[in-house]
């Protein structure tokens, strides 16, 4: 049971504020914002998503820099409320097309309409984008999508969830399109986030893939969809240790540790032929989430070296090698490395003929940054950096710097080899077959090399 729901901007302004039960004292939004802004408890610099001030429990999630907050006085399930907040953000995004401060401010009346139907007197009624359609009468005022920052990890992960960007999926579920007729299309995105830690000698210490099959359907008439995955897909890694690399699975069988499915998914024939069938609801939703710790080939190898070069100097050599096919190109690659805190100057040396690469030394947090616009499969790039220190070196310089972390996006590549073999729409369309988009993308989550 929820008492209030509100959305605050980064500056703490109320963008939307709904009090459902009138049992939380006035000023809760201010109390909340002050607490989050000046969090200082137990040495944490970031407020946890749930905390209690004077008997009021505050829950919040951060979505595109906005704070979605719920309050309650009762002892309720935290995952329920946090999940709900994420869901509300997603429903709003479905209606507005683009979720940001601007679109919320322009459409707050529509948002109130939604909120009234999503929650009544603190009790959740529905979060189904589809059901909500019949209760929402305001037309969304669509904000200009071109003003959105370009594709890249920033926008992809700005919402904290795995989302495929693209102009096509920023249209509202209710807005009528220019030209009148709705385009029949369906998007299926296989989004994988890779976490890897390489030891200083280049061994893989841990690796995990967290994947989502995300769907967004604009098909009319709610047809049934069938999604076929790899037919030799195995689920559950048996009783052995999860990280047992000894059983190298060269045979090509994809083994997931575990997975879960959206409500609408029916698994009648999943055990037999690895086919999911569902009638996709409106809006964007994850069909399936999965987790894999099976050994896989990392898309990038990172080689990092830091060496003393005199009492006040050191040299850093960073090498990045793309270990995927040359037909594939990774983009928006960023390599970062914390440097010793007494570093005061860095000079960079890129490889000859390097293009689309930038380097930076972030003085404030003593961090080296290396950005590469794109890396073609099979290529290797190197960066040399000369560091100058304000004080004489002592101790082990490798303990004062690193680890190297990396972010990237690789379209049309997936490390797990999980595939959507086919996407079948069980409905006959006339001359215009609906557009079916099946897209793969792999991103770095925590891609780290120790030195």
């Amino acid at each position: 049971m929820i008492s209030q729901f509100f959305v605050l901007s980064q500056r703490g302004d109320n963008i939307v504020f709904r009090d459902y039960r009138g049992e939380v004292p006035k000023g809760s939004a201010e109390i909340f914002f002050r607490k989050v802004k000046f969090w200082e408890d137990g040495g944490l610099e970031e407020a946890p998503p749930v905390f209690n001030v004077d008997g009021v429990n505050y829950f919040h999630v951060k979505v595109v820099g906005l704070l979605f907050v719920a309050t309650t006085r009762v002892n309720t399930s935290p995952s329920y409320v946090l999940e709900l907040l994420q869901r509300i953000a997603r429903v709003i995004k479905d209606y507005l097309g683009i979720l940001n401060e601007d679109s919320l401010r322009k459409n707050f009346v529509l948002v109130y309409e939604l909120l009234d139907e999503v929650i009544d007197f603190g009790y959740v009624q529905t979060t189904s984008t589809e059901l909500l359609k019949s209760y929402v009468f305001n037309e969304p005022l669509v904000v200009d999508a071109t003003r959105m920052p370009p594709l890249g990890p920033a926008t992809l992960f700005a919402q904290g969830t795995k989302r495929m960007p693209g102009i096509a999926v920023t249209k509202s579920v209710v807005a009528t399109e220019p030209g009148g007729r709705k385009r029949e299309e369906i998007f299926v995105d296989i989004i994988e986030k890779i976490s890897i830690t390489f030891s200083s000698s280049g061994y893989i210490l841990t690796s995990e893939i967290d994947g989502t099959i995300q769907m967004k359907s604009y098909l009319s008439g709610n047809p049934e969809i069938r999604l076929a995955l790899n037919d030799d897909l195995a689920i559950g890694r048996g009783q052995g240790p999860v990280y047992g690399y000894r059983s190298s699975t060269g045979s090509g069988v994809v083994v997931l540790d575990d997975c879960n499915f959206h409500e609408s998914v029916r698994l009648d024939s999943f055990e037999v032929d690895r086919t999911l069938s569902l009638v996709p609801p409106d809006g964007e939703f994850p069909v399936m989430n999965y987790r894999m710790t099976q050994e896989f080939k990392p898309p990038f190898r990172i080689n990092a070296l830091i060496e003393e070069a005199g009492a006040h100097k050191a040299e850093v050599i960073l090498k990045v090698r793309a270990e995927f096919a040359s037909s594939i190109t990774a983009n928006t690659i960023k390599v970062q490395m914390p440097l010793p805190k007494y570093t005061n100057r860095v000079s960079f040396e890129l490889e000859p003929g390097a293009s689309g690469q930038t380097t930076d030394f972030k003085e404030a947090n003593k961090r080296l940054e290396w950005n590469l616009k794109k890396v073609v499969g099979g290529c290797e790039h190197t960066l040399r950096a000369k560091l100058s220190f304000s004080q004489e070196l002592h101790g082990n310089i490798t303990k004062e710097s690193g680890p190297v972390s990396m972010t990237f996006t690789i379209p049309m590549y997936n490390a797990s080899r999980l595939q959507v073999k086919y996407l079948q729409i069980a409905k006959k369309y006339g001359t215009h077959e609906p557009y079916r988009w099946v897209r793969y993308v792999t991103q770095a989550n925590s891609y780290v090399a120790r030195i």
Partner: protein, 845 residues
């Protein structure tokens, strides 16, 4: 509803209207449009309404427009209608008279042909929250519950709860709960069913405080027919309603094991749900149903592990946090379950610190013989992390693992490497750890001291670390050549040392060093004692004086007090009692798990919700069980002795003079007293929060003398007639309640509680156990800081005579009150004395 009128007005952003003149403008524009039927009037109204609502959102009081808004509301435009409803719902409460104006059009809309309008109007009508309008609600609600459209019915059901909050009697008189119950069991729409369930839970929970009938009704919700009816439809419910049903099922007590397996088989696939709330709610059902079947319970841990781990990595960091908190609770109960999955809890560099912190706790908890090496290696990586708070946490985690392992060779090396890293915060954390480690594993002292000896005290600034270093200097001064001189230089800078804790440790360390290396330390000791005696801090002054007098009396006695041979600490005290942990486990999938305290510690009674089913009732049964568990025999005996001793130690203040005389120095010659004293001193020297828990009664004398907060008065009071209690008294809650009702009040007294008693209240079950050790048993407890309430009972030894006690404690004022009822009233004064004496010792042992 939206921001209250008196909201402080924040500076609005440029896109938003800003204040009074705007409101006046809006008013005149609304007036112009009120009667207009001109084409385009609705569009103009929409814009105006939007402006009004926008003002309302940012906290500007637009309630003065109420009349105009209502005038404009006569419209068929549904968008306008909805905005108007929102506005009215917001301000009706502060404008009850004007709210009457809206009744008319809302009632009319409740009869509209369009079910949507009917639903919206009914919802708004019920949201007015104006008490004198309730008469207008009953009719529309009644027909709403019978409406043939499910949307209207869902709205009406929630409307009943709203009505209940405005006027409970109106709601009950209209017999709405019975209607809801019927709907719950018969309605074809699952959202109507879910709302009925929510509504009935809320109404009956609130009613049950005054009505036994309501309590019974509430119990019927967890009866087999209702539970089975809901379970059979579970897949038709929305995911949110599923959580509601699952929460209810977790309270159900099946009659036999086959029922348990049926339920679990039915719910098995809920663990594959993408919604973490459903997965956790299902896990709770599984865990609670199998509590009595140990082997199946273990299988449940294995079964829910993978889905929960998927939730950790699939969701947002916020969701990971919620699920990780639950994993932490599980791992505390079954440490082995994740022992091979520990790599899931390695931190990722881009995770928020609240997630990292939980993961570190997980790593500490899952560490065992097989994985410690890997985990510690990983933690050591974090120690060099740029994120300093996390680096600190990591070092502490290494220390915790070291203290819980048997084989610490490898860990000690790592810790010593920390000391050589030459990062101040790493050194500081590591020093504290090495100190704790040495208390548990004195055999490592040679290795550690060699490294610690190289650390310059000038580089250690944090009080905790400095205190640790000083303690080691004192404790191992024989092995550290520089010790006397380092201590001397620290004493010289006495005035610059701001932390009293450090100064206290310095005094003790100089003393210890003196006993071992007198000639070298004499000067430092003299200077230290002089500085201590002149110290403005009472505790420091008192300790210096105490040492001074001890030395004056006899150096060998002083040594046996200040630096006796110590035993290694085997287990550091757990900060949480197992009762509290069980209580938190009972409240699985709730905030209790996140906060790591049971709900009664952070929630008002009326807001405790459905998690704690029947407050009084639940407490009564829980504690009755706890009371049944036999007190260990030896403890009982010890306590009987205590009891005799303690009669002379009634609280009421006593002056310092009697203090001194009562515990004159020669008593230290007594062997037992010495060991007791040294035990407590050892504790003091560590300034550890983990109380020794075994210092006999006499030890508090020294605590008291040292000025550490262990003050217990011992004024002479008339010796009451000897009264002894039956340590194994048994009373069931029903009898207690009955007796409490029947017996007259025989005694009521007010008194103050000692500060340490109040402090010890923080761990609530501590008091129950303490009193139990005095043969006084708790049967029910509750309340929320600062007000606590306890019911105790005791039985006179070799007699059937029972004493019943109600104890009220206000922890902020340290006042308490007892009410005693007794079968044998002639002894109730004696019992009261006994009770207060037992209570006065609470927190001191």
């Amino acid at each position: 509803m939206a921001p209250p009128p008196a909201h402080p007005q924040r500076s609005p952003s440029p896109s938003q209207p800003s204040g009074k003149s705007e409101v006046t403008d809006l008013r005149s524009q609304l007036r112009q449009l009120a009667g207009s039927r001109a084409p385009g009037a609705d569009d103009a109204k929409r814009d105006l309404f939007k402006k009004v609502i926008s003002n309302m959102t940012i906290g500007i009081d637009v309630s003065s427009l109420f009349g105009e808004m209502v005038m404009c509301s006569a419209t068929s435009d549904i968008v306008l209608k909805k905005m108007c409803y929102l506005y009215v719902g917001n301000y009706a409460k502060v404008n009850p008279d004007l709210a009457l104006l809206t009744i008319n059009f809302l009632q009319r809309d409740c009869k509209d042909d369009d079910p949507m309008i009917r639903g919206l109007a009914l919802r708004s009508l019920c949201s007015l929250r104006v008490a004198n309008l309730v008469e207008y609600l009953v009719g529309p609600l009644g027909s709403g519950l019978k409406d043939n459209n499910s949307y209207v019915r869902t709205v009406a059901v929630i409307g009943v709860v709203k009505l209940y909050h405005i006027s409970a009697s109106t709601c009950l008189d209209a017999d709405f709960p019975a209607t809801l119950k019927h709907l719950m069991l018969n309605d074809p729409d699952t959202q109507v069913v879910a709302n009925c369930l929510s509504a009935l839970q809320e109404i009956w929970t609130l009613e049950s405080t005054s009505s036994e009938e309501a309590a019974k009704e509430r119990e019927t919700l967890v009866s087999k027919p209702v539970i089975y009816y809901l379970l059979n439809r579970i897949k038709e419910f929305s995911e949110w309603a599923q959580c509601l049903v699952l929460e209810l099922v977790a309270k159900y007590i099946p009659s036999d094991n086959s029922e348990i397996f049926d339920i679990m088989n039915l719910l098995e696939d809920r663990l594959q749900h993408a919604n973490g709330a459903v997965v956790l709610a299902t896990s709770k059902v599984f865990l609670h149903l199998t509590l009595s079947m140990a082997d199946v319970h273990q299988q449940v841990y294995e079964r829910i592990k993978a889905p929960l781990l998927t939730q950790v990595s699939a969701g947002s960091p916020e969701q990971s946090y919620a699920v990780l908190s639950h994993l932490h609770l599980l791992v505390m109960r079954a440490p082995y379950i994740f022992s091979s999955d520990y790599k899931h809890f390695y931190c990722q560099y881009n995770e928020p610190s609240y997630v990292k912190k939980l993961k570190l706790e997980m790593l500490t908890a899952v560490a065992n013989e097989s994985n410690t090496y890997d985990i510690v290696t990983e933690l050591c990586e974090y120690a060099a992390n740029v994120d300093i708070p996390i680096a600190r946490e990591s070092i502490r985690a290494v220390g915790k693992i070291a203290l819980q392992q048997y084989d610490v060779n490898a860990i000690v090396d790592r810790l010593l490497q920390f000391l050589e890293m030459e990062k101040d915060y790493v050194t500081c954390e590591a020093l504290v750890l090495v100190k704790d480690l040495l208390r548990k594993y004195p055999q490592w002292s040679q290795d550690c001291i060699a490294v610690v000896g190289n650390i310059s005290s000038k580089n250690v600034q944090e009080p905790k670390a400095k205190a640790a270093l000083i303690w080691m200097l004192g404790e191992y001064s024989q092995d550290m050549p520089d010790a006397p001189y380092v201590l001397e230089s620290l004493v010289e800078n006495w005035d610059e040392e701001h932390s009293a804790e450090v100064r206290l440790h310095l005094l003790t360390a100089v003393m210890k060093c003196f006993f071992k290396r007198a000639p070298e330390t004499q000067k430092a000791l003299g200077a230290g004692l002089a500085a201590g005696l002149a110290d403005f801090h009472q505790d420091v002054h008192d300790r210096a004086l105490f040492y001074y007098r001890l030395l004056q009396y006899k150096v060998s006695v002083a040594e046996s007090v200040v630096n006796p041979p110590k035993q290694a600490v085997s287990v550091f005290a757990d900060s949480q009692s197992s009762e509290i942990k069980d209580r938190i486990f009972d409240e699985f999938n709730s905030l209790s798990v996140i906060y790591q305290k049971p709900s009664y510690m952070f929630t008002d009674k009326e807001h405790r919700g459905t998690f704690e089913f029947s407050d009084e009732l639940a407490n009564l049964t829980i504690n009755a069980e706890a009371g049944d568990s036999a007190v260990p025999a030896q403890r009982v005996e010890a306590n009987d002795n205590d009891l005799l001793l303690s009669i002379t130690e009634k609280e009421e203040g006593r002056d310092a003079a009697s203090n001194g005389s009562a515990y004159s120095a020669p008593s230290y010659d007594g062997a037992s007293a010495t060991s007791a004293a040294s035990q407590s001193l050892a504790d003091l020297a560590f300034s550890s929060t983990s109380g020794s828990g075994q210092a006999p009664a006499s030890s508090f004398a020294i605590d008291d003398l040292l000025g550490l907060d262990f003050s217990v008065g011992a004024a002479a009071t008339p010796t009451p007639p000897p009264l002894s209690l039956n340590p194994k008294a048994v009373l069931d809650p029903g009898t207690f309640q009955q007796k409490w009702r029947q017996l007259p009040l025989s005694l009521s007294e007010d008194f103050s509680l000692s500060p340490q008693g109040v402090a010890a209240l923080a761990t609530s079950n501590a008091l129950l156990r303490h009193m139990q050790s005095h043969s006084i048993h708790c049967i029910a407890s509750g309340g929320q800081s600062p007000n606590f309430k306890f019911f105790f009972f005791a039985q006179k030894a070799e007699s059937a005579s029972i004493y019943l006690v109600e104890l009220l404690i206000n922890s902020s004022s340290a006042k308490s009150q007892i009410k005693i009822k007794a079968d044998d009233q002639s002894t109730s004064q004696a019992f009261s004395t006994l009770f207060q004496s037992a209570l006065s010792k609470f927190g001191t042992a």
